[in-house]
Every structure is written in structure tokens, then in C-alpha cells.
Symmetry: C2
């Protein structure tokens, strides 16, 4: 079993159910797993803001400072309001769960669809940006960026199939390394600036191609919103924390937001102060690192750290996506097998599907971060808004202690993120946001039709009180033969282990051959009745089907079991030389009620 | 059953076996079916000769007359020697049959492979040339030639699936129409020339690009050999004639050769006399027709006639190819299903395969006759040589009345056609003849490995004298369940019609669910034993497989039948929502000995 060995080697040994509790994550490991998504967005958020502002010329870049304060406000609001969700939904409170609890089906499914799109795009965007960090440092790799991105995704898939805890350990070191070097850069850069040693580029001023309108500033805010992406991940994964889950999760959320805010504000400030401008082949962060560290060991450490952080950000959704899929599957909105635990207690199906779609996106958009970004933020902010609005509804109905304060917090959250949705979708609609809206509609209708199918099935197969236990039916066993050999005798042997009436059936196309087979049957047929049926049309298949049909018609209460002697070749490609008639027979009988098909294989040795 | 209705409408109603005798062909119909192949080659043979000679300048074209006499000699030799084969092998004496009878396995298989390649190429070349006749008259269709060719092949396939006789009637009229207009053109052209009214083109002389060497003349002979292609078809199809088969076939052969010789010599003579030269966008025959008839009704009639003749030539091999395939299949050199009669007493499988390969060739060579020709003649002449050499051997061993004369006839045939093989393959080796040699080697080795596989199978499944009838074995029936519903109860119901011991097996992943199912089972389980097996690894599949394995190990003499309750959705695309676990289980158990898998489908209505 070579494939099994390979699988074990790739994904490790299966774990017992009792080990599940030990799979819980410490705060340190959880920060590495769940926060890399949010924190890593500092690698591209500042650049996205500048890309918009620079359209109005170099002077407009000064607007990056007020824009970044707007984003900081957003981060603070999201931190406080998601901490409330964490305490209120220790089971894991994604947009879907919150909305299902507090609204009806539709808002919940919209939230779920938005989250799913978000997860897939997180993988694609993060990997694309991570590879951009790499190619900024090693420009010769630029042309291989798609292949590098695919390799990264496949690597993450395999790691995730190995199980949550091991992935956590595996990813913690590089995540902290990435955060560390970024903080170091921001720190040194700020000190240099403070003491007036900061390198400032000669302002090679950019000519304006657009006016500095309110719309342009809103666009840059929308672009900056990407900094907040990934902040919801912890609230979906509360269950993965050690006890007390909610408290640990809330603390981790705070740490994460702090790091995110410091890095985002620092990078934006440094970028403004040093006057770096977006380039096609080098990221803003890479340019800042060169200015701060020079192109030495620390520069390369920062680029590698950024890349690792981003690639591991992609990893964070691999924990969240299968969890969401399994919740949806349990509610009947996704195929039931998505709810199944895999060998390693993780939801293997979800991991594999997420990985494949992300790979497709990466190829489709040729690994370009900027092209993917317009699709990205919309989904995230829709799910934010659904969550926050759900919480507002919750406080209004549930009330409880301090409900007015809580209501206000989530109210501000809902208004802020809702505003984000409006800004992002109005400024980026044509560039790709419309795709997300279309996908949400499609996904919601798929969810609903899956659910209604399962409901219809349940109605059809459920046992009702007045369903009487069936009376055992008679079983007529038919063995179609065209000769007498060991394969046929094996089938007869199996059929004889049945209680029913057994008939071997031979289609008489050639009287001589029929006579010969009848003689052989007398010797080998084990006393089973052999029936030669005429075939005026020389169609073996047609005559057999007719016979089976007639048998069914004659006795409407019986099962008809067709036992087919089949030769199983030693090599798969030899199959074309065998069983063609058996295949046709099976295809013709497959969908008939009361007919049961049985292959009795005769295994060839060579 | 819409597909069946469509099939009936396309291929007609099935025929009874007793109708088979009436399927025999009259000489008139047989000439249309079997002779179009040989006769239609006059549409391109002259052109192929001129294409070679013109390389040595306009003066060299005079050599077309002696070359055509060489081809005439070939036609005469082939006619006489194939008539002997027809009398000697009334069962149908293709190269394969003759060689198998008189030589060993290898020459026979080489003959068979050469014939097969010949048949496929006949279809491709004839259709390509037929479309060239059409596009000569209607140049605007030139760019659609591949699509037109494919349409023609598909049309022929459908006609052939309707059965031999109907095809014959269907094709007789156009064949005779084509022969008629061609004869008319040659006749009028010759009369015009004789009375000095023949239009002679102003000799716009072509500069020589090659010297007029012996090699060039041999190349033009090789090119002319294409005129003889298809002359063997009658000898393969003697059985299809009315009684007395051999005599009717031999007479038809004579008629065919006569028509072929007159047309080929006439066209070559007219081409030389009028000074027409090969053009890329108009065939020689089209040019001659314009000169003879003017571009009027008769011109178009001739182009249409030629096209029909060629397209129907392709049709002739559709009778011969499946016949050869079925002979090979009966001898074990081809998959056994090739030997099966189709609904319409024709060998549907062979027809479809031939058609598909020809379509591929047509697309691959972009419908270009000249590109296909170098591959074509080699195969034909190898099969000629194998046949003739086989006959020489026959007369030497069998002797009989007048054996010396007969020996001489076939001896001359063998030497002439063998010479043809040498000339064609030496002059066209690089242009494509090598492909044919390579294909022959590949086909022969495929034939041999199929045969050796069937032999190995026969040895393994044949019942020997000391093979004792098996003692009926015990049967343990296992029904894996994960809940109690109508689908499961239906499977239990079926299982109860067995004599063996029945066990429902439930994998215990969730103790609560297990307890609930056990209570339900007490009510609905029809007294069948329910076994809850533990699953420390939460792997339902793994635990089930373990259980089945252990059951097999415990009792080495039993059958283990696994009855799988399966939900059969009303629409195929719903399958993705069901039975994933059943599928995995079946895949894992498929190739185990003593395990029999049974699906008991529960048919959903919606």
C-alpha cells in the first residue's frame, strides 16, 4: 500500500479522539496561528493607500497620515467589538453563527458566503504579497512568482493536513520572527527620524493624473481598510484556545491589535517621512527596509520575515475555513461529508478545497496582489457588518448587564464597518467588487438548494410510525453466462450461498456452442438450473434484459439479483480486454428498482 | 428512453439472424460498394505522377505515358492474381487470412497490420480528395475543407451503422453516376483529341528544380502506384456476394479493373496531351473537365460525381475493416468485443473505431491529400505482397490442377508488388513511409500481447478434469449503517433474503448517537443483530475495514458480503451530496478476494 505509506508520511499518524482536548492552543501559539492574518496586512495596506493618493501627485501623499488615523480608529472599534463577540460566543462566533442566532437564514448565509470568499482570497492575496516580498529582494525570481506561490500553497496544505497543533508549533517561530524584524524596522526608523538621521529621499515629484477629490480620499481609505482584514479570525476560533477559552482569546485579540496598530501606523509614518513611492517591482516595505537597514543582513532578514508572515497568514484561514464549512455542513447547507472529521481531527476536505480554489485564483490573477485586493476587502467588511449588526440585535433582545454600553460598542462597530462596505464597494465596484456580490448571491442560492435537497431526502427516507417492518421477499438469482469456466463456477458458488432460487441463463446465439455448454454444465454446474433463452436478434444483451424484465413483471414482489461473473485482470490496462458485456449489462440494469447487481470477481494472477 | 429512440432512428431496427442470408449483395450493388475504393483513385493518381515529374521541368511530363503503362501492367497483374485468391479463399481472403494459412504468425500479423493502416488511410485520403474535388469547383469552401471532411466521415459512419444492404443501395446510384461522368469525360476528351479539336494549353513551361534521374522516375512510379490501391477490397469481401460467391466476386473484380484501367489511362493521356499542370487549389481532373466540358452543367456534374465516388470509396473500407477486426478478434489478436455482432449484424465497434481514427488523421494532416499519400501506398503494397507471397507458398505445397500456371501468376504478382514496396518505401521513406513501418511494428506487438494475455487468462480459468465442484460456502452478510432510515431498512430487507448470517454494523463515534440508533434498531431492525464497533481514531471507514478484515481472517472459508444501503438521487448532480462514505468503502474493498460488494439502492423521487 504505497499510497497509504506516503499519506502517513505526509500527514502523520491518526490521533485518537481522547487526544482531541490536548490539541488546544496556548496563547503564544494561538497568536502565531490566528494573528498572522491581520498583522501581515501591514505588508501591503500602506502601499495600497499610497497607490491611490499618488494619482493626485506627490503632495497628496501627505493625506496618508489622516487616512491612516481613520484606519487606526477602525482597528480600535473592531478590537473592542470583536472582544464582545468572543465572550458572547465561546463556541466560535463567525458572522454566520452570530447572524443565524440573531437574524434569519438569509443574513446568516450572506455572512457565511462573505466569510468563505474572504478566506479564499486571504490565501491568494497573502501568498501573492509574500512572494512579492521575496521578489523585491531577489528580482530574478519575479518571473517565477506564480509557480512560487503555488508551491507555497501546496506546502501549507500538507502542513495543515498534519493537524492543528503541529502546524501551530511549526509556524510560531517564523511568525514571531517576522513580527520581530518588522517592529525592529519601525523602531529604528522612528528613532532615526526623531534624531533627524532618517534618510529622506530627494522628492522626485510625481505629476498628478487625477484631482485630489473627496472620492479619491475615500478610495484611499477603502484601500487602507485591507489593514483590518483578518481581525475576525480569532473570534471564529475561540474553541481552539486553552481554558478559559474566551478570556485567552480576548487577550490574544488585544495583543494582536496592538502589534497591528503599531506596525501599520509606523510603516505609514515612515513611508510618508522618507518619501518612498510605490514601484511595480519593489514593495514599499522593502524600500523602507533598505533605507533603514541598508541592503545588508537585516534587510534580507526583514524580507524573509515579511514573506514568512504572509505565507503563514494564508495558513491561518486553513484552520478557520474547514471549521465554517463543517458548521454549514452540520446545518445542511454544505455536502454532509464536509462535517466529517479527517484522520487528523481536522477537516481535511475543507483544507483541500480551500487550497485548490486559492491556487486557481493565484493562477488567474497571475500572482498580482493589487489585482486581487479590490475583491478582497469587500467580503471581509460584509462579514464584519453582518457580525456587528447581529450583535446589535442581540443586545436589543437579550439585554443583560451593561447592555446599553455593549449595544453602543457594537452599534459603532456596525456603522463603521457598514460604512466601510459602502466606501469599498462604491469605489472599487468596477475593479472587482461586483464579482464578490455576484459570488455571494450564487453561494447563498447553492447553500439553500443543498439544504432543501437534504430536507426532501429526509422526508423521503424517514421511518414513520405507520411504516411496518417489511416482509422478507423472495429472491431470484440470475447468473448470465456465455461459457463454463472457473470464473463462472466461482459466481455459481457464491450464488449458492443465497437462499433464493438460482438460474444460470445462457443466450442461445449459436446452437452448437449452446449444446456444448449444456454438456459442460451437466458436469460443473453444481446442480444449478441452466436456462438457454433464444435470441432472434443475435443481441445477447437485449435478450438478457428482456428476460430480466419479464421475470420482474411476472412476480411483482421479488428481488431479482443478477450475479455477474467478472474477470479481474492483474493489470488495470487489461480491463479493456474483458467484461465489456458485463459493463453494458450493469449500465442497463443500474437504475431499476428491485434489481440488485453483484459482481463476483475472479482474480487473475497474471 | 430518448437515446434509444435516437439510435433506432439513426441506425434502423435490429434484424433477426435469419435475415442474414438476405443481406448478400448483387454484383451491381457489390461493384458500387467494393469498387469505388479502387476506381476513385484515378481522381488523384495521375496528379501524383505529374507532381513528381514536373520537378524536372515541363518536358519531363512526357514520362507520364511510360509510367502509366507500368501502372497498367501492375493493374493487370493484380487483377489476375487476386482472381485466383478469390477462388481459393471464398471465405474472404485478405492478406491476413492468406498469410496465416500459408506462413506463420508473423507474416499474417504484418499483413493484418498493413491492411488496417491501409483501411484507415483510405478513409482519410479518399475524403480529403473528395473534398478537394468539391473545393476545385467551389473555391470559397477551401478554408472549410477539414470541417467538410469530418462531416462526410460522420455521415458515412451513420450510414454504415444502418447495415450493409441499405448502405449498398444508398451508395450505388452516386457511385455509378461518378463512374459514368468520368467515363464520359475520358470518352469526349479522347474523341476531341482524335479529331484534333482537343484543347491544348499554351505550354507555360515550368523550370526544372531537379534532374530527370532514374530515381525521379521511380518516385513517379511510386506515386502512380496509388492508382492500384483498393484493388484487394473485393477479395476480402467474397462472403458478402450472392451465390456462387467466388464467381460473382471474380467477375466483379474484372469489371472493376477494366473501368479503373480505362479511366486511369484516359486521364493520364488527356492530361499529357492537354498540358495541364498540378495546381494547389484545383485538381488535375477538375482542370481536364473544364477543358473538355467547359465550366457548365457537365463540369459540375463531374466534380460532384468525383466527390461522391471518393467519399463512397471511404465507405467501402467500412465494410472491410470491421470484418478484418472480427477475424483478428476471433483468433484472439484483438479485444474479444470486436468479434461481437452489433444490432444490425454489422460490426459496430469496428465501424466506430475506424471512423474516429480517420477523423483524427484528417484533422492532423489538415485535409491535405498530398501529405497523406506517402503513408497510404506503403501499407497497401505490403499487404499485396504478403497475399501474393502467401499464394506462391500455397501452390508450392498444395499443388493441385494447373498449379504451375497459378504459381507463375502469383509469383509475378509477388515480385511486382514486392518491387512496389521497395520503390515506394525507398522513395518516400522520409516523407512518411517510415511512420507506417513503425506502426506495423507497434500493431504486431499489440496483437501478440493481446493474444498472449487471452492465452494466460484461458489457462487460469479453464476447468481441469481434477477440478472438484466447490462445496457451498458460508456467507456472512455485513450491513454498515450510520443511522436508521428507509434506505437502511431496504438494505436489511434485501439482506434477509440471503441464507447467510446477517450483521448490521455501526461505528461508534458518538456514544449518544449510538444509543439513539440502538433504540431505533430495536423497533425497525427486523431482528437483525446490530453490532456497535468502537472507533478510537474516529475513523468510520478505518474501523469498518478493520472489522471486515478481522471477519475474513477469523474464518478463511467464508464469503463476506458487504451490503451497502445507497441513496440514489433523482438527478445525477445530487450524487455529490450522498454516498461519499459508501464510495470510499467500496474503493477500499473492491479488489479483495472473498469479499462481495452489494449496493442496495433507495430511489429518491425528487
Amino acid at each position: 500500500m504505497a499510497p497509504m505509506v506516503l499519506k502517513r508520511w505526509l500527514v502523520g499518524d491518526p490521533l485518537k479522539s481522547t487526544q482531541a482536548a490536548h490539541e488546544r492552543l496556548s496563547k503564544t501559539v494561538a497568536l502565531a496561528i490566528f494573528s498572522s492574518n491581520a498583522i501581515s496586512s501591514v505588508a501591503y495596506a500602506t502601499e495600497e493607500i499610497l497607490l491611490v493618493l499618488v494619482l493626485a501627485g506627490t503632495a497628496a501623499v501627505a493625506w496618508s497620515i489622516p487616512v491612516s488615523f481613520a484606519i487606526l480608529f477602525l482597528i480600535v472599534v473592531l478590537t473592542i467589538s470583536y472582544r464582545q463577540i468572543i465572550y458572547e460566543y465561546p463556541e466560535g462566533g463567525g458572522a454566520y453563527v452570530v447572524a443565524r442566532n440573531n437574524f434569519g437564514e438569509y443574513p446568516a448565509l450572506i455572512g457565511a458566503a462573505a466569510l468563505m470568499i474572504d478566506y479564499v482570497l486571504t490565501v491568494a492575496v497573502s501568498v501573492a504579497a509574500g512572494i512579492a516580498a521575496l521578489t523585491s529582494a531577489v528580482p530574478s525570481l519575479f518571473e517565477h512568482r506564480v509557480a512560487l506561490g503555488l508551491a507555497a500553497i501546496i506546502f501549507i496544505i500538507i502542513m495543515n493536513l498534519r493537524g492543528v497543533r503541529e502546524s501551530g508549533k511549526f509556524f510560531a517561530v517564523p511568525t514571531y520572527f517576522g513580527i520581530g524584524v518588522l517592529l525592529l524596522m519601525v523602531g529604528i526608523g522612528c528613532v532615526q527620524t526623531f534624531f533627524g538621521q532618517g534618510v529622506s529621499l530627494s522628492q522626485n515629484s510625481q505629476t498628478a493624473v487625477e484631482d485630489l477629490t473627496l472620492f479619491l480620499i475615500l478610495r484611499s481609505v477603502a484601500a487602507g481598510c485591507t489593514a483590518a482584514t483578518g481581525m475576525e479570525v480569532i473570534s471564529n476560533g475561540v474553541k481552539a484556545f486553552r481554558q478559559p477559552e474566551s478570556r485567552n482569546a480576548a487577550t490574544t485579540m488585544l495583543h494582536m491589535s496592538l502589534i497591528l496598530a503599531v506596525l501599520f501606523m509606523g510603516i505609514t509614518f515612515l513611508a510618508y517621512h522618507s518619501g518612498v513611492q510605490p514601484k511595480a517591482d519593489e514593495t514599499i516595505v522593502s524600500q523602507l527596509a533598505r533605507l533603514t537597514f541598508g541592503t545588508g543582513v537585516l534587510y534580507y532578514a526583514l524580507q524573509i520575515g515579511t514573506m514568512l508572515l504572509l505565507v503563514l497568514a494564508a495558513n491561518s484561514t486553513f484552520a478557520a475555513f474547514p471549521q465554517l464549512a463543517s458548521i454549514l455542513a452540520r446545518d445542511g447547507y454544505m455536502p454532509r461529508q464536509m462535517a466529517t472529521f479527517g484522520d487528523r481531527l481536522v477537516f481535511s476536505n475543507g483544507i483541500i478545497i480551500l487550497g485548490i480554489i486559492a491556487c486557481l485564483l493565484l493562477v488567474l490573477f497571475q500572482g498580482d496582489t493589487h489585482a486581487l485586493i479590490p475583491l478582497y476587502a469587500v467580503g471581509v467588511f460584509i462579514s464584519f457588518t453582518v457580525s456587528q449588526a447581529g450583535m446589535v440585535r442581540r443586545w436589543l433582545t437579550k439585554k443583560g448587564p451593561h447592555w446599553q454600553t455593549k449595544l453602543m460598542v457594537n452599534g459603532v462597530g456596525a456603522v463603521t464597518t457598514g460604512g466601510g462596505v459602502i466606501i469599498i464597494s462604491s469605489t472599487k465596484f468596477i475593479q472587482g467588487a461586483w464579482i464578490v456580490f455576484a459570488l455571494i448571491v450564487i453561494l447563498v442560492s447553492i447553500f439553500r438548494s443543498i439544504r432543501s435537497h437534504y430536507k426532501a431526502v429526509a422526508e423521503q427516507i424517514t421511518l414513520t410510525r405507520d411504516h411496518r417492518p417489511p416482509i422478507p421477499q423472495r429472491n431470484i438469482v440470475i447468473i448470465p453466462i456465455s461459457g463454463v469456466d472457473q470464473a463462472v463456477i466461482r459466481a455459481v458458488d457464491y450464488a449458492r450461498s443465497h437462499a433464493g432460487e438460482i438460474r444460470a441463463v445462457l443466450v442461445d446465439v449459436d446452437p452448437q456452442a449452446t449444446a456444448r455448454i449444456q454438456i459442460q454444465w451437466a458436469q460443473w454446474g453444481c446442480g444449478v438450473n441452466l436456462l438457454a433463452i433464444p435470441s432472434p436478434y443475435r443481441s445477447v444483451l437485449g435478450s438478457l434484459l428482456d428476460y430480466v424484465e419479464k421475470t420482474l413483471e411476472k412476480e411483482p414482489d421479488i428481488w431479482v439479483t443478477v450475479v455477474i461473473p467478472e474477470i479481474l485482470p492483474a493489470h488495470w490496462w487489461q480491463s479493456v480486454l474483458h467484461n465489456q458485456r458485463a459493463l453494458l449489462l450493469k449500465t442497463a440494469l443500474l437504475f431499476k428498482e428491485r434489481i440488485i447487481l453483484i459482481d463476483v470477481p475472479f482474480h487473475l494472477k497474471r
